[in-house]
C-alpha cells in the first residue's frame, strides 16, 4: 500500500491524466512523472512564456494602449483575491477596496520614507495587507454571510476617512504622490514608461494566477471548498475551519494589497477618492460578472470594470448632451449593463464561455442533438 | 363463491369506480436535473382508504408526494382529483383543490405560534368558520391546546407532528399526503395519530396517501399499498396481500 506516496498537493491533478494502466503501476511503485508535468513547474513555465509573449506584444502597442492595459492589472489582482475568498472559501467581502487602499498607502509611505527598490516595495505592500487581512480574518471567521458582508462594507466606508483625518501621515484629500519608476537602462531607450508599467503588472498577475491555481489544487484549497460547502462536516473531518478561513482571508487580502500598490503606481497617486465604497462594490460586481471562483473570471471582470464605464462615457459623449446629463446617462448605462449581464449570465462570463464550450464539445462528439 | 367474488370485483370496477377513486395518477414522471426520480407511476387512491407507499431509500416515495403536491414539476403523465386535473398546477392551487401535503420533518412554521400555525392551515378559505374548526382540531389533539400560544419550535417531536397533521386537516382536505409521519416518534404517538386518521377516513371519507420507511407498521394500518422501486410501481395491491407475500417483502421491503 504505497499509494500515499503520491503527494497530496498534486494527486487531484495527476490521477485524471494518467491512464489506468499507469495508475495500477503507481499503486505498486513510486510514481515518476517527467518534471514538466508537475503542476507548479508546468504553470511557472506557462507563466514565463506568457510574460515573454506579453513583453513582445506590448512593444508593438501604442503608449496609450499600454497605459490602458496597465490600468486593468491592479483590478485583476484584487479580483483574484476576492474570487479566491468568495468562490473557493465562501466568505463574502464588500471591503476589498479598503484592502487595496492599505496596500496602496503602504507602498506610498515606504516609497516616500525609504529608498527600497520597487520589487521590495510591492512585496512589503502585499505583506502588510496580508497581516492586516489575517487580523480582519480573525474577525471574519466568526461572522457568516451577510454579517461579514456588512462588516466589510463598513470597513470600506470608514477606512478612506482615516486618511483624510490623519492628514500629516496619509496626505488628506489630496493623498500622497507616487514617483513612477523609469524603465531600467538595459531595456533600451525606446522602452516606454507605460510599457514598463504594463510589464510589471503582467509579472505580478502571472505570479498571482500561479499562486491561485496551485492553491486551489492543494490540500488547503480543498479544505477551503470543504469549509465553504459545509462547515460542520469539515470540522468533523478534522479541518480547522477558523484557520482555513483566516488563511483564505489573509491571502485574499495580500492579493488585494498588491493590486492596490499597483493601482497607486499606475495612477502615480494615492488618495481617499480612489478607494471609496463604490470601488469595493464594483469589485464585487466585477467578480460575479467575471465568474466567481474561476481563474479567468477576474480577467474578464477587471476588463469590464475598467472598460465598460469608459465605453459608456464615450458612447454618451457622442450624443452631444450637456455634461451633467451625459455623465448620468453613462452611469445609468453601466447600471443597466450590470443587471443585464447578471440576468443573461448568472454564472458570470467565464461560466457562459465554459457552458458554450462544453456544448460545442458535446456537439462534436454527437452527444447533443443540434 | 368464486363466481360471486368475481362479480363483486367487476361490479366495483365498472360501476363504483368514479365514486371510489379520488386520486388518479397516470404515467407520472419527474426528475431532478438529469436524474429521473419517477418513471411513469400509475396508481390511484380511494376515498376513505389509507394507501401506503412503500419502498427502499431512493425509490421515489417522497418525490411522488412532492410531485403530487406540485413542489416538483411533473415532466410527463397526469394526475387528477375528483376528475379535475392538477399535474401542471402550482402547489398553492393544488392545496386549494383539496390536497394537503404534510412534508417530511414535520413542516411546521417554527417561528409562529401553534395557534397561528393552525389558522394558517385554512387561511385561504373564504367565509369559513375558522373558530369551530380550530376547536375541532384541539379536540382531536388535546396536547396542543395548552400550548396554543407557544412558538412551534418549543414543541416536542410528537406535538409537532400533531400540529402538522392538525394544520393539514384545517382546510377540510379531500386527500392527505403524509410523508414519514412516524420518523423519530415514539411508537405510541404514531399509533395514536394513525388510529385518528383511520377514524377520519371512516367518518369523513378522507383519503390518505402514506409514505413510510417502516413498511411493517405502515402495512398494519393501511388498506392498500403501492411498492415503488427506482421510481416505478412494482406492485399495487391490498395491504394484507402484500403483507402475506413473503418473497415480495424480502425483495423490496426488507422484512
Amino acid at each position: 500500500m504505497e499509494e500515499s506516496t503520491i503527494s497530496g498537493e498534486s494527486n487531484e491533478n495527476l490521477v485524471s491524466e494518467i491512464p489506468p494502466k499507469q495508475l495500477d503501476q503507481a499503486a505498486s511503485e513510486k510514481i515518476k512523472l517527467p518534471l514538466w508535468r508537475l503542476p507548479l513547474i508546468r504553470n511557472c513555465g506557462i507563466g514565463i512564456v506568457a510574460i515573454a509573449l506579453f513583453f513582445v506584444i506590448s512593444g508593438h502597442l501604442s503608449l496609450y494602449r499600454n497605459y490602458q492595459l496597465a490600468e486593468v492589472g491592479p483590478y485583476i489582482l484584487a479580483l483574484l483575491g476576492l474570487s479566491l475568498l468568495v468562490g473557493q472559501n465562501g466568505q463574502i467581502s464588500i471591503g476589498h477596496g479598503a484592502l487595496m487602499a492599505i496596500g496602496a498607502w503602504t507602498f506610498a509611505l515606504f516609497q516616500l520614507h525609504t529608498k527600497l527598490p520597487l520589487a521590495v516595495l510591492l512585496i512589503l505592500a502585499t505583506l502588510v495587507t496580508f497581516i492586516f487581512g489575517s487580523l480582519l480574518g480573525l474577525v471574519a471567521a466568526r461572522l457568516r454571510g451577510p454579517y461579514l458582508a456588512g462588516t466589510t462594507l463598513a470597513l470600506a466606508l470608514g477606512l478612506p476617512d482615516i486618511a483624510t483625518r490623519y492628514r500629516s501621515l496619509f496626505g488628506g484629500y489630496q493623498g500622497l504622490q507616487i514617483t513612477q519608476p523609469s524603465p531600467p537602462a538595459f531595456l533600451g531607450a525606446t522602452f516606454s514608461a507605460q510599457q514598463y508599467l504594463a510589464v510589471i503588472d503582467m509579472i505580478c498577475i502571472v505570479i498571482g494566477i500561479i499562486i491561485f491555481a496551485n492553491l486551489i489544487r492543494s490540500k488547503t484549497g480543498r479544505n477551503m471548498r470543504a469549509v465553504r460547502d459545509d462547515e460542520i462536516a469539515s470540522r468533523i473531518s478534522g479541518i480547522s475551519v477558523q484557520k482555513t478561513q483566516v488563511f483564505a482571508f489573509a491571502v485574499s487580502a495580500g492579493a488585494a494589497g498588491l493590486g492596490g500598490a499597483l493601482l497607486a503606481l499606475v495612477s502615480s497617486n494615492v488618495s481617499p477618492g480612489a478607494f471609496t465604497l463604490t470601488l469595493s462594490i464594483s469589485l464585487l460586481a466585477g467578480m460575479v460578472i467575471g465568474g466567481t471562483g474561476t481563474i479567468a473570471g477576474p480577467i474578464w471582470g477587471a476588463f469590464i470594470m475598467v472598460y465598460v464605464p469608459q465605453w459608456a462615457t464615450t458612447a454618451t459623449e457622442k450624443l452631444n448632451l450637456n455634461q451633467g446629463i451625459a455623465a448620468n446617462l453613462s452611469l445609468g448605462l453601466y447600471g443597466v449593463l450590470l443587471i443585464v449581464i447578471i440576468l443573461l449570465a448568472p454564472m458570470g462570463i467565464q461560466g457562459l464561455l465554459r457552458s458554450g464550450f462544453s456544448k460545442v464539445v458535446l456537439r462534436r462528439q454527437g452527444k447533443l442533438s443540434k | 363463491m368464486l363466481l360471486f367474488d368475481t362479480f363483486d370485483y367487476w361490479f366495483e370496477v365498472y360501476f363504483l369506480q368514479g365514486e371510489k377513486k379520488l386520486l388518479i395518477v397516470e404515467g407520472l414522471s419527474a426528475s431532478y436535473g438529469p436524474v429521473k426520480a419517477l418513471r411513469g407511476v400509475t396508481m390511484s387512491v380511494d376515498r376513505s382508504k389509507i394507501t401506503a407507499v412503500l419502498g427502499a431509500n431512493g425509490a421515489g416515495k417522497t418525490t411522488l408526494l412532492r410531485t403530487l403536491s406540485g413542489l416538483v414539476k411533473a415532466i410527463d403523465g397526469s394526475a387528477s382529483i375528483d376528475g379535475l386535473h392538477f399535474e401542471n398546477k402550482n402547489p398553492e392551487d393544488i392545496a386549494r383543490m383539496g390536497i394537503s401535503h404534510v412534508p417530511e420533518g414535520r413542516g411546521v412554521v417554527q417561528e409562529m405560534t401553534v395557534d397561528e400555525n393552525l389558522r394558517l392551515g385554512a387561511i385561504w378559505k373564504k367565509d369559513f368558520d375558522i373558530k369551530s374548526k380550530l376547536n375541532w382540531v384541539y379536540e382531536l389533539f388535546p396536547p396542543l391546546l395548552p400550548r396554543s400560544a407557544k412558538a412551534a419550535f418549543t414543541l416536542s417531536g410528537g406535538e409537532r407532528q400533531m400540529l402538522a397533521v392538525g394544520r393539514a386537516l384545517m382546510s377540510e382536505p379531500k386527500a392527505l399526503l403524509l410523508d414519514e409521519p412516524s420518523l423519530g416518534l415514539a411508537p405510541l404517538v404514531t399509533a395514536g395519530i394513525m388510529s385518528l386518521l383511520r377514524k377520519l377516513c371512516d367518518d369523513q371519507g378522507l383519503a390518505v396517501l402514506l409514505v413510510e420507511q417502516n413498511a411493517r407498521s405502515a402495512l398494519s394500518v393501511a388498506d392498500e399499498a403501492v411498492v415503488l422501486s427506482l421510481g416505478e410501481v412494482v406492485v399495487s395491491d391490498k395491504a394484507s396481500a402484500i403483507k402475506e407475500d413473503a418473497a415480495l417483502r424480502h425483495h423490496y421491503l426488507g422484512f
Binding site: 470608514g158 443587471i339 | 409562529m112 392551515g121 387561511i123
Partner: protein, 292 residues
C-alpha cells in the same frame, strides 16, 4: 441643555430614520435572503417625486402620500420583473442586480432632476424647540419624525400580528415551501414585501431629505448605516432593526460631536465589530434558537 443631551437627542432622531430603512432591509432579508441595496435609490427617487409635486403646488401631506404610493409600486415592480429572476440563484447575484438598480435609478434621477444638491422644503421647523431660555436639541420636525415612525411601526405590527395577510407574509418568509403547501401565494407575498419596503423607503427618504439635502445618492450613507443597524439588531428581527437604528444614531452622533464628524464612518465599523464579536448573530436574532 447640555451638549451630551443634545447629541443624544439628535442621534435618536437620526436613528429613527436608520431604523425605518433597517426595518425595510429586514423585511426583505427575512423573506428573500437578499440585502436590498436598491432601497436607497427607491427612497431617493420617491422623495424627488414628492419634491417636484410640492414645487407644482401640491400640498405637503398629499405629496408625501403620493411618494409613499410611488415607492410601493416601484418596489413591487422591481421584485416582480427583476429580483424574481435571480432570487433562486446565488444571493450574490441578487445583490449585484440590486446594486445595478441602485446605480440606474440614481443616474435616472440625475438625468431628470439634475445632480446638484438641492434643499428640501421642510414642512416643519428644523430649529430646536425653546423651553424657557434654552433651546432643546429637538425641533418640531424631530417630533414629526417620531410620530411618523411610530405610526409606521404601529401599522407594521398590526399588519404582521393581527391580519391574515400579515400572517401569510410571515409564513412565506419563514417557510416558503410549507406556506405554498398551505395554499399561500408566496410569490405575491414576496412582491408585497418588496412593495412595503419600497413604501417604507419612501417614508425614510421624506424624513431624511431635510437633513441630508436631496441629491441622487443622498440616501447611500443612510443605507449603509441602516444596514449596519439591521446587522446589529440581527437581520431577521424588526425589533432588532429598530433598536439597532437607535444605537447607530446615538453612537454616531456622539462620535461626530466629540471626536469629529470624519470619524463617524470608521466609528460605524468599530461599533459593528464590537457588537458582532460579542454576539456574531446580532442582538435580537432568532436564528440560533431556530436551529435547535
Amino acid at each position: 441643555m447640555s451638549n451630551l443631551g443634545n447629541f443624544v437627542l439628535i442621534g435618536l432622531s437620526n436613528g429613527l430614520i436608520y431604523s425605518v430603512v433597517a426595518i425595510c432591509i429586514v423585511l426583505i432579508f427575512r423573506s428573500t435572503r437578499v440585502i436590498n441595496f436598491s432601497q436607497a435609490a427607491l427612497a431617493m427617487f420617491s422623495t424627488y417625486v414628492a419634491v417636484s409635486l410640492i414645487d407644482r403646488g401640491v400640498p405637503y401631506y398629499l405629496a408625501f402620500l403620493i411618494a409613499v404610493i410611488f415607492g410601493f409600486i416601484a418596489g413591487a415592480l422591481i421584485e416582480r420583473f427583476l429580483m424574481r429572476r435571480v432570487e433562486s440563484k446565488s444571493p450574490l447575484n441578487a445583490v449585484i442586480v440590486a446594486v445595478g438598480v441602485l446605480i440606474t435609478l440614481e443616474a435616472m434621477a440625475g438625468v431628470i432632476w439634475g445632480a446638484t444638491l438641492r434643499n428640501f422644503p421642510s414642512h416643519f421647523s428644523l430649529i430646536g424647540i425653546k423651553i424657557g431660555k434654552s433651546r432643546l436639541g429637538i425641533s418640531p420636525f424631530d417630533i414629526f419624525i417620531l410620530v411618523v415612525v411610530l405610526v409606521l411601526l404601529g401599522a407594521l405590527v398590526f399588519l404582521f400580528r393581527y391580519t391574515k395577510l400579515g400572517m401569510m407574509m410571515r409564513a412565506s418568509a419563514f417557510a416558503p415551501e410549507v406556506a405554498r403547501l398551505l395554499g399561500v401565494r408566496v410569490g405575491r407575498m414576496l412582491t408585497l414585501g418588496w412593495a412595503l419596503a419600497g413604501a417604507g423607503g419612501a417614508v425614510a427618504g421624506m424624513l431624511a431629505a431635510p437633513r441630508v439635502f436631496l441629491f441622487p445618492n443622498n440616501m447611500d450613507a443612510v443605507l449603509v448605516f441602516a444596514f449596519t443597524a439591521a446587522i446589529i439588531g440581527g437581520l431577521d428581527s424588526p425589533v432588532g432593526a429598530l433598536v439597532g437604528g437607535l444605537i447607530m444614531g446615538v453612537s454616531l452622533s456622539l462620535i461626530g460631536g466629540y471626536l469629529g464628524s470624519d470619524l463617524e464612518n470608521p466609528g460605524a465599523f468599530l461599533i459593528l465589530v464590537v457588537v458582532l464579536m460579542a454576539r456574531p448573530q446580532g442582538l435580537f436574532s432568532s436564528i440560533s434558537e431556530r436551529r435547535v
